[in-house]
Structures are given as C-alpha cells and as structure tokens.
C-alpha cells in the first residue's frame, strides 16, 4: 500500500500515465474512443489545467486519474503504485486516501449538513475519532466556519463548492481533482474557488483542474490541452494570475 496521505519523494511524479486508452461502447455497433493513448506526468505540488473542446476526453481522463473508472489499456502509477488491476476495495481505499474530488455539480448529499458532508471521507476510512473537529477545521479553511450546520439547499453555489473542496481536503489526499469546478459559478465565486486552490497549491497540494475558460486556466501553472483523446499541447504558464489580488481589486476572475 501507499503510505497514506504523504507526499511522495520529490522527484517521483504523483501521476504517471502511459498509453492510457478508454473506449465506450454504445450497443453493439457504436464505439466512442474517448482516450486514445494519453501520456501524462504530474509532479507533486503542480497546479495543472486541462483544457480542450467538448468531447475531447477531459472528464474521462479525470475519472481514470481518480480511480473512478478503469482504463482499457496503458499503465497508471499513482504516487508510485501501479493502479491497474486493483480490486474494487483497494480502488475505494485509493479514492478515500489519495484523491479529493471536486465536481462541477458539487455533488453534496442533500440530506446532510455541511459538516456531515465534509466528514464523509472519514466515515469510510482513516482515523474517524476526531472527525468532527477536523471537518470543522476544513470548513474554516475554505471560509465557511459560520455555515457548519447548513444544508446544501441553504447554501449558495459558491458556498456549496467550497463545502465540496473542504470534503476533498479532509483526508489530506495526494491530489485534488476538479472537473470544471467553476462551470456552474459566477465570476466572483469562481475567483474565490480559484483563490482557495491557489492557496492550497502554495501549501504544496497537487491540483488538477479541468476548465473550458482560458481566464480560469490562466490561474494555473501549467496547461494541458487535449484533442480527440490525446494530449495535444502541454505548456507552462509564464505568469499565473493571482485570484486573491483580483478579488481585492474587485475584478471577477473570468471576466
């Protein structure tokens, strides 16, 4: 097993993908080759944006990265461990310890309040003893210290997404995967989310984020562009924009 929640040694990538393919079959005849051989390395502490036209395989790639879906072929090493051919239970443990997901649609449980949603990863693994205070601390970190007992329906979209981020942080995962986290948010809320990601990244957290918006991607330190199921371009961002400064200046991030 991978040492839980620890950062891997400096020179070892968090993610190492080689020749990853994924084909969806609809009925007997139609095949959709969503991924056609993706090679990608992500080093610890990176903040990567994945861009590309609709249908280019970004979400499929994220699902593979997060062990929510298994590739058809290729190798995937997560924090030094080969992930292919792991059992369902082992994959669940990896999702629990090594991956923090943030979705476009927030995906909070509607019946639970903020703190109960955030502590969910600790219900399924890790040390559950002090999970209340830890969940409260995570909510504090994303600026929701005063909304601990609100249900998702009592929170704004931006607040819900921040609850989701707090949940993703709880088990101190090796990386945070965010699939269009700002897709459903206005520019102000988007800037706040990006500010949180930048702060976490500054603390050493690895973040991989899918986005359609160049303005959002400009806050990352590296942009991976996909096309037709492969990585088409992979460029560093010379001078990432600072979301916190933009908020202070009163400008929305994606305007």
């Amino acid at each position: 097993m991978i040492a839980s929640g620890r950062l891997p040694p400096p020179r070892q990538p968090v993610v190492r993908l080689r020749g990853i393919t994924k084909t969806y079959r609809i009925g007997r005849e139609i095949e959709v080759r969503a991924l056609r051989g993706v090679d990608l390395d992500v080093m610890p502490g990176e903040f990567v944006a994945i861009m590309g036209p609709s249908g280019s395989g970004k979400s499929t790639l994220m699902n593979v990265l997060g062990c929510l879906d298994a590739p058809d072929a290729g190798t995937y090493e997560l924090a030094g461990q080969t992930v292919a051919s792991l059992s369902d239970g082992a994959l669940a443990a990896i999702r629990n310890r090594h991956v923090g997901f943030v979705f476009q649609t927030f995906n909070l449980l509607p019946r639970l309040n903020a703190i109960e949603n955030v502590e969910l990863p600790l219900v399924y693994g890790g040390d559950g003893r002090d999970r209340r205070p830890r969940a409260a601390a995570a909510l504090e970190q994303v600026g929701l210290g005063d909304r601990l007992h609100h249900r998702p329906s009592e929170l704004s979209g931006g607040q819900q997404q921040r609850v989701a981020i707090a949940r993703a942080l709880l088990n101190d995962p090796s990386m945070i995967l965010a699939d269009e986290p700002t897709g459903n948010l206005d520019s102000r809320s988007s800037a706040e989310i990006l500010a949180i990601f930048q702060r976490l990244n500054a603390q050493g957290k690895t973040v991989v984020m899918v986005t359609h918006e160049p303005d959002v991607a400009a806050h990352c330190r590296r942009i991976v562009r996909m096309r037709d199921g492969v990585v088409a371009h992979d460029d560093p961002v010379a001078a990432p924009r600072r979301a916190e400064e933009e908020i202070a200046a009163g400008i929305g991030a994606a305007e």
Binding site: L68, G89, A92, R95, N96, N107, L109, Y124, R167
Partner: protein, 424 residues
C-alpha cells in the same frame, strides 16, 4: 463504515421519508401481528387441551378393558370380566410404594337426585377410596369414603361443589341424605327405584374446562355402584394409577402392564385383554396435533408477512434508484461495495425490525382483545403469546429485512461509480 454510522444514517433516511416508511412498515406490522395472533390461537388451544387433560390428575396411567377383537373373549358381558376390582387390588398390593395412588371407576349413569324438596339431575360414578389422591382433588367439607365403606357397600356419597350448591344452597350438605331415583321405561308402564345415600363429603370446586363443569357429580363407593346402582357386579371401566413422578412414567406403565399380564395369566403381551395408556403419550400425541394446527395458523399469518416483505423489497428498490447519485458520491469519497451493501441492508432491517416490534405489540393487543370479547360472550378461548413466539417474530422480521433487502442492496453496491454520479 462503522455500524453506528450505518444505523444513524439508516434511521435518518427512514425519518426523512416518514409516510413512506410508515406505509412500508405497515405491511410488516400486519404480517407480524397476524402471525403472533394466529400462533397465539394455536398455542392457546394446545394449552387448553393440555390443561384439560392434566386437570384430571397428573402423572396418570390408565388401564382399560380391551376392545374385543375376534380372537378375544366373546359374548355379552365378556368385556366386563377382563378388568375387575380384584385387578386393582392386585396392582395396589404388588406395586405398593412404587406408585403414588390407585383407584378404580365404574360409571353409573345419570340419576334424578332429591334433597328435601329440591330436585337435580346429575351423573353418578363409583370410585374407590384413593380417588382424591389420584385425581389431585380433595374434599372441602367432610371426608372422602374409605375402604371400610367399600367393604360394606355403604350407601354414602361425596358430591361436587356445584351439585352441593344446587341441592343445598348455602347449607352444609355433610350428614344430609339424598335420594337417588332412576325411572325405568319397563314393561307395564314406568316404575322407579329410590335409593338413600348419606353425604359424607363435598369436593372442592375445580371450575369448568371447555365450558363443561366437573363440579357437578356424585361419587359413591365403587362396590355400592356395582351392586346397588348398576348391578354389573364385577365391572370396572378404568383403573387409574398415579405414578410417583413424571420421570418414572414409562417404567411404572411397564410395571402395571406386566403385573396385570401375570394376574390374567396371559403370556403373549400382544394378547393382553386390557390396554394401558400413559398420560405422557396422550399429551405427546395431542401436542403433535396441536403443534401442526399452530404451524398451519402460523403459515397463514406468514403469507401476509411475505406480502409485507415484498413491499419492503419494492420500496428498497425505489430507494436505491432515487439515491443512485448518493451512492455515486459515497463511492467517490471511498465507500466500498460492502459499505453500500451494509447501508441499505441496515435500512431495510431497520424498517422490518421496527415494524416487527410494532407488529408484536399489535398482535399481542389483538390476542388480548379477542380473548376479552370471547370471555364477554361466555366462551373460554385462550390466546397465548409466548416468549418463543415473540423471539421468532423478531427473528423472522429481521430475516425478512435481510432477505428482501439483499437484492436492492446488492444492486446499489454493484453500481458503477461514474454511472451512479451521472444519474439524473
């Protein structure tokens, strides 16, 4: 996932869908209640039968003259010769202290009884002196007649509590004389015999079983019955032996049988001209019958429980469907298949478990109500809810939750995380 979390989350989701949970539970409640009530009827009947048999005395071994077969002794009155008072005395002498008590009985039919101006009609039985010991039935007033009374065919009688009340009201019957009268529809019109008996004792009241009073009867010395009342001088209908305790029933039964064989000079046990029945055997046979009866009633109740179970399955399938996204989210944060399976199983068990407990209460209530109503109507109907029934009911309702919750829970557990997350 810890069990505590699972239970909390299960109860939470049941409370969230109050009406639906209540309606689903109703199926289980009705099912369990009907099983409880039905089995209570069966248990009650079984208990009543047993009580009735044991009310005739406990640890009893009964000897009766054999039903005549073709190879048996022929002719009228032949049966009467096969079991006599002498047989009873032989058993008494030979078995001695290895039995608790022994008595012989001869029915003398129904007689018209008068005490002063009061008339009554009741049955008269000739018995021997150890009747109270054998039947666990003491006299309340006066004394039971003795062997000396038997020896002289004394015209004495011990009467039941109801008979005493009807003939004498509140007055003390002991020492009073009653007249027994039997009308003959003989040749040349009807004539009657009138016999005087002195009352020496009154039996304590036993109450009635199955609505038929055992307190209305007259007991006389068997010799008097044989010579004076019936004229069947040597006939004994039954000899009843009381064993020392329940554990020696089989041995004592064998002793009685063998002693009588020798007394009757019969070598082949198969040719015995009498039968010996043991109360335990009777009880066991009856138990088997009432057990079957109870099982049948339980099965009828079980059908409604099955319907309740199908309701559970139905609603759990709906629940799993509705919460597909939740399942996806839980899987995304690290829930294993087992965690999801456990969550939904516990939810269905919580449904049936709570339903089961409420059903037990309802079933018990129904049993009580039915019994009250029956009593008010003058029927003695016993409905018995036993601990065993309750435990089985709890077990069965939890089992139903497991059984009918398993398929929906497995469907939930097997969902692919991505497909579950995409579900709208």
């Amino acid at each position: 996932m810890k069990l505590y979390d699972a239970f909390r989350s299960a109860l939470q989701s049941l409370v969230t869908n109050k009406l639906r949970s209540a309606l689903t539970m109703l199926g289980v409640i009705i099912g369990v209640a009907s099983v409880i009530a039905m089995v209570a009827v069966g248990n009650g009947a079984s208990q009543q039968v047993q009580d009735r048999i044991l009310a005739l005395g406990s640890n009893l071994i009964t000897v009766q003259a054999a039903q005549l077969s073709d190879q048996g002794l022929r002719g009228a009155g032949a049966q009467s010769q096969t079991l006599t008072l002498a047989d009873m005395r032989t058993l008494q002498d030979q078995l001695g202290t290895s039995i608790a008590a022994i008595e012989a009985e001869q029915g003398a039919g129904r007689w018209q009884v008068t005490a002063g101006a009061t008339n009554w009609n009741t049955s008269v039985t000739g018995v021997s002196e150890q009747y109270p010991a054998v039947r666990d039935w003491n006299v309340q007033l006066g004394e039971f007649f003795t062997q000396a009374d038997l020896n002289v065919n004394a015209s004495v009688a011990v009467i039941g509590a109801t008979t005493a009340l009807n003939l004498f009201g509140d007055a003390d019957p002991v020492g009073q004389t009653i007249k027994l009268r039997q009308a003959f529809a003989g040749r040349g019109g009807s004539s009657a015999r009138i016999l005087n008996f002195k009352i020496v004792g009154v039996l304590e009241a036993k109450g009635s079983t199955f609505g038929f009073s055992r307190d209305d009867q007259i007991l006389v010395p068997i010799t008097t019955a044989q010579r004076v009342l019936t004229g069947r001088r040597d006939v004994v209908n039954t000899v009843v032996v009381k064993a020392l305790d329940n554990t020696v029933m089989t041995r004592t039964t064998d002793d009685v049988f063998n002693t009588l064989l020798v007394a009757h000079k019969i070598e082949d046990p198969a040719a015995a001209d009498f039968t010996v029945t043991n109360q335990n055997d009777t009880l066991a046979a009856l138990d088997q019958i009432t057990g079957l009866f109870t099982l049948l009633l339980g099965a009828i109740g079980g059908i409604s429980l099955l319907v309740g179970g199908i309701g559970i399955m139905n609603i759990m399938l709906v629940t799993v469907n509705e919460r597909t996204r939740e399942i996806g989210i839980r899987k995304a944060v690290g829930a294993r298949r087992g965690d999801i399976l456990q969550q939904f199983l516990i939810e269905s068990i919580a449904l049936t478990g709570v339903g089961g407990v409420l059903g037990i209460l309802l079933g018990w209530g129904i049993s009580q109500a039915v019994q009250r109503i029956a009593q008010a109507q003058g029927l003695t109907l016993l409905l018995l809810v036993t601990t065993g029934t309750v435990l089985i009911a709890v077990g069965v309702s939890v089992g139903i939750g497991l059984l009918f919750g398993l398929y929906p829970a497995m469907r939930a557990a097997r969902l692919h995380p991505i497909q579950a997350l995409r579900y709208e």
